[in-house]
Structures are given as structure tokens and as C-alpha cells.
């Protein structure tokens, strides 16, 4: 996605924010359009956010969870998508555990497809809402330094954000234990650090990633407590950070592991702002996709 594409999505999202503050939170723009969201993995934020975004634009939104669909009877991905396409949706929103699944669907279908997270590959709408949140508080992206902390290797949020932030001219430092850091990741134009305290004083924004508790059993971590000691964000560690530092997290949060409850409720934390912005960004994307132009955002 180019810088211009990103800015156009963010600028439009800005204008959509106001609608969620009205008493009647609806505009007729996508009236009668159909949006189907197909989630093969669980989700609270992303799924609800897409649903609310579509409904506030007056579209008809249908949510399908793979666990309660015929996928459990063995129906494959392409068949599922093609069957849904036969019901004329305008947009398909897809979250899948395999990288490239939304891309595959998009190649076979005529309607617009939005990636809501594919395996450990990308989560583009998360990166966009993160950028929107950052822009609200820092005005400009150029020259900003971000630390992304946690299980980078398995994080689609990290990947999407690395691409997005580099495109907007930000500097990215990845922080995490070596077991969770992909080899050669510096080739994406980022720097790597294995100690949170080393990086914390240098950055304007700290993005904490969720430690996926199931990883611990795969011996990537000695224990959650040790992870929390070395990489968890506490008020104590925050004292070493810049005064205006912003803290973001894609959610859900493991209290006391990657981030302490005190930090979450501190004025630096923008975690709930991110969620609000998520609705605006998704409204923006849907509006731009169905606007009539033959838009493709990769």
C-alpha cells in the first residue's frame, strides 16, 4: 500500500469518527450493500468492529464463524467462498489461520475482499488504526520512533505495522527474546534489541504485543514470569521512557504479563482509543472500496 493510499484511508477515517458520537449513529451511504464476514479464528474486537462499521454505514452485515459453519463438515475454503459469492455480497471480510487465505479468495472471487488477519502474515486494518491513533497524538509520522515488543515471529500485527510505519517514514525497533525474533528481520529496515530497558528511552511509541500463552509450552519462554520481568511493561520501567511516550496494544491483553494494569490505565495508554479508531478505519475502508472506483489496496 502506498503512502498516498494510507493517507487517504486515514483522512477519510477522521471524518467518520464523528458519526460514532452522534445519537443516531448511522449514515445511508452503503444502504442495501451486503457485507459478509467470515472468521475462521476467534475475535472480539476485529469482528465486532467490522460489523459495527458496516452497520453504521447502513449496510447489511452477516457474520459467519467457521466453527458453526459447514467448514466443520469438511467444506473447503474456495467452495465456502464461492457459495457465499453466489449470494452477491459486496465485501467479504476474512480472518483465517493460513497466510494468504484472503488473497486466494480474492483471486477466485469478483467481490471485494478485506483481510482481517491471516495466520502470522498480516493484519492490515490493525496497522491502519494504529497509525490513526498515533497521528491523533503526534500530528506527524516523520521521524517518530516505535518499539514493537513481544513475540514478533508469530505476530501479524507486527508485520503489518512494520510495513505501514516504514512507509510513513517512521523508525522501528523490534524488542523481544531471541527465540521469538525472526532471523534476518533487519532486512525489513528495522533494528532489533533483546532488552526492553535498552530501547525504552529512545522511542516515542511503545507497542506491546500479546504473549500467546500457548507458546510457553513450546519452550520459547522459560516462564511467563521471566518474560514479564524482562519484557513486560510496568510503571517502573516506564520511568525510563520519554515523558510523552504513547503506549498501544492490539488486544486482548494479558494482565501482568506483557503489560501491567497500572500502565494500561495510565494516561500514556491509548489502548481503548485504538478500538474506537478501529471502527472509523474500517468504515473508511468499506466506503472507499464500494465508492465505485476500481480500487485495490494490497
Amino acid at each position: 500500500m502506498s503512502k498516498e493510499d494510507i493517507l487517504s484511508i486515514l483522512d477519510t477515517a477522521d471524518s467518520f469518527k464523528e458519526i460514532s458520537t452522534r445519537k443516531i449513529k448511522k449514515v445511508p451511504t452503503l444502504r442495501g450493500r451486503t457485507i459478509i464476514s467470515l472468521f475462521f479464528e476467534p475475535s472480539t474486537r476485529t469482528r465486532t468492529s467490522f460489523e459495527i462499521a458496516g452497520k453504521r454505514l447502513s449496510a447489511d452485515v452477516i457474520n459467519i464463524s467457521a466453527s458453526t459453519s459447514s467448514v466443520t463438515k469438511g467444506e473447503n475454503l474456495i467452495d465456502t467462498a464461492r457459495n457465499l459469492e453466489a449470494m452477491s455480497p459486496d465485501i467479504l471480510v476474512v480472518r483465517h489461520s493460513c497466510a494468504g487465505a484472503p488473497q486466494l479468495i480474492a483471486q477466485h472471487l469478483k467481490c471485494s475482499v478485506i483481510n482481517a488477519g491471516d495466520g502470522a502474515h498480516e493484519h492490515p486494518t490493525q496497522a491502519l488504526l494504529d497509525l490513526l491513533t498515533i497521528r491523533e497524538h503526534k500530528r506527524t509520522f516523520k521521524g517518530l520512533k516505535v518499539a514493537i515488543v513481544g513475540d514478533i515471529a508469530h505476530s501479524r500485527v507486527a508485520r503489518s505495522n512494520i510495513h505501514a510505519m516504514k512507509t510513513m517514514g517512521m523508525e522501528v525497533i523490534l524488542v523481544g527474546p531471541p527465540t521469538m525474533m525472526p532471523a534476518d528481520i533487519e532486512r525489513l529496515g528495522v533494528s532489533v534489541c533483546h532488552n526492553l530497558l535498552d530501547a525504552i528511552g529512545e522511542v516515542d511509541i511503545i507497542m506491546m504485543l500479546r504473549i500467546q500463552l500457548e507458546r510457553q509450552s513450546r519452550f520459547l519462554l522459560p516462564s511467563l514470569r521471566e518474560y514479564a520481568n524482562l519484557f513486560g511493561l510496568t510503571l517502573e520501567k516506564l520511568k525510563k521512557a520519554r515523558p510523552g511516550v504513547l503506549i498501544i496494544h492490539p488486544g486482548p491483553v494479558n494482565h501482568g504479563v506483557e503489560i501491567s494494569p497500572e500502565v494500561m490505565s495510565s494516561p500514556h495508554s491509548l489502548i481503548l482509543n485504538q478500538v474506537t479508531n478501529g471502527v472509523a478505519v474500517r468504515m473508511s475502508l468499506m466506503y472507499l472500496l464500494l465508492g465505485g472506483a476500481d480500487e485495490t489496496f494490497d
Binding site: 452522534r22 445519537k23 443516531i24 445511508p28 451511504t29 466506503y287 472506483a293
Partner: protein, 178 residues
């Protein structure tokens, strides 16, 4: 061929007169709010607000409406018009809202604006002030206050320039046959 229909002074006199007419019809400005339709309607509304505030020693509400999301032609054009913010920071229930726009043509913009407005609340009345009425209505919409009526043919276009956005105040008729 381009003809200048209104110059800076003409526009200023029209705005003055409209301000007076608004006050006359509404018997003051107690319940009044002005909402400008993006983009140039906003400046028109602002100027009217200033005149009315000065004349009545009051402070009436001013809002900005972007009707892009309420248009009836989205998806028909290749590119969507750029979306800007709507800012109506005051409650409109029970208010006499005067919508302001630069040119009234088919009336579809005003239809969209009324739909947008009623999503914000229930005004006591909605009135319409336009600088130019160029005819060719496609919907039953009529203005309450008009700067100037200009008969046009559909092939012509009317360009309103206001100094807040363009370099000068001027209304130009484009494509008139001599």
C-alpha cells in the same frame, strides 16, 4: 465565454440583505442556527453569522455539514468525492436551522442536507439561504432567501468564488452564449 455576474460589492450587499431577511422572517435570532454546506456554503454561513451577531448583539450557533455520505449518486462516478468532517457541536432540537449553500441547482444537495440534519435531531424548522439560484430543479425544493436569481441553460455552469477559499469574491457564469 465567461461573464462576471456579481462582484465583491454585489456579494456583500446580497449577504447583508439575506441577513436582514433572516432576522425579519424569524423575528430575531433567539432560536436561530446556521449550518453551512461544504465547501463554500460554510463561508456564506460564517459571514451571515457575523452580520447577525453584530446586528443583534447575539451569538448564534454555526455548524458545518458535509453531505458526501448522504448523496444519491455515490458509486455512479468513478471516484468518490473527498469526505470532510461534519461539525455540528450544538443540539438542533427545536432550533430554526438555516442551511446555507452557494448555488442552488437541481436541489439534490439540499435533499441530502435535510436528511443529514434530521439524523442529528428534530429542528423546529429548516430554512434555505443560497447566494445564487440557477433554476433546473429536479426535486421539489425551494429557497427561503436568495442572493440572486440567474436563469441558466443546463450546459452552462455557475462558479462562486469566495475569498476564504479562492482569491476573491466573485460569481462567474461560464459558457454563456453572447
Amino acid at each position: 465565454m465567461d461573464t462576471v455576474i456579481l462582484n465583491e460589492k454585489d456579494i456583500s450587499r446580497a449577504v447583508n440583505r439575506i441577513a436582514h431577511e433572516i432576522l425579519e422572517k424569524n423575528r430575531g435570532c433567539e432560536n436561530l442556527a446556521l449550518v453551512g454546506i461544504r465547501t463554500r456554503g460554510v463561508y456564506l454561513a460564517k459571514r451571515l453569522q457575523q452580520k447577525i451577531n453584530a446586528m443583534e448583539k447575539a451569538s448564534i450557533d454555526h455548524g458545518i455539514l458535509d453531505i458526501t455520505l448522504y448523496r444519491d449518486d455515490l458509486g455512479l462516478e468513478k471516484q468518490n468525492p473527498v469526505l470532510k468532517k461534519t461539525e455540528i457541536a450544538f443540539p438542533i432540537d427545536g432550533k430554526d436551522v438555516v442551511l446555507c449553500d452557494d448555488v442552488l441547482f437541481t436541489g439534490r444537495t439540499i435533499r441530502a442536507a435535510i436528511d443529514a440534519l434530521v439524523d442529528f435531531g428534530r429542528p423546529a424548522s429548516v430554512q434555505l439561504a443560497v447566494l445564487i439560484d440557477r433554476g433546473h430543479r429536479e426535486l421539489p425544493i425551494r429557497p427561503d432567501y436568495v442572493g440572486k436569481n440567474i436563469p441558466t441553460s443546463k450546459s452552462m455552469s455557475v462558479k462562486v468564488k469566495l475569498r476564504e477559499e479562492d482569491e476573491e469574491d466573485q460569481v462567474v457564469l461560464i459558457g454563456a452564449n453572447s
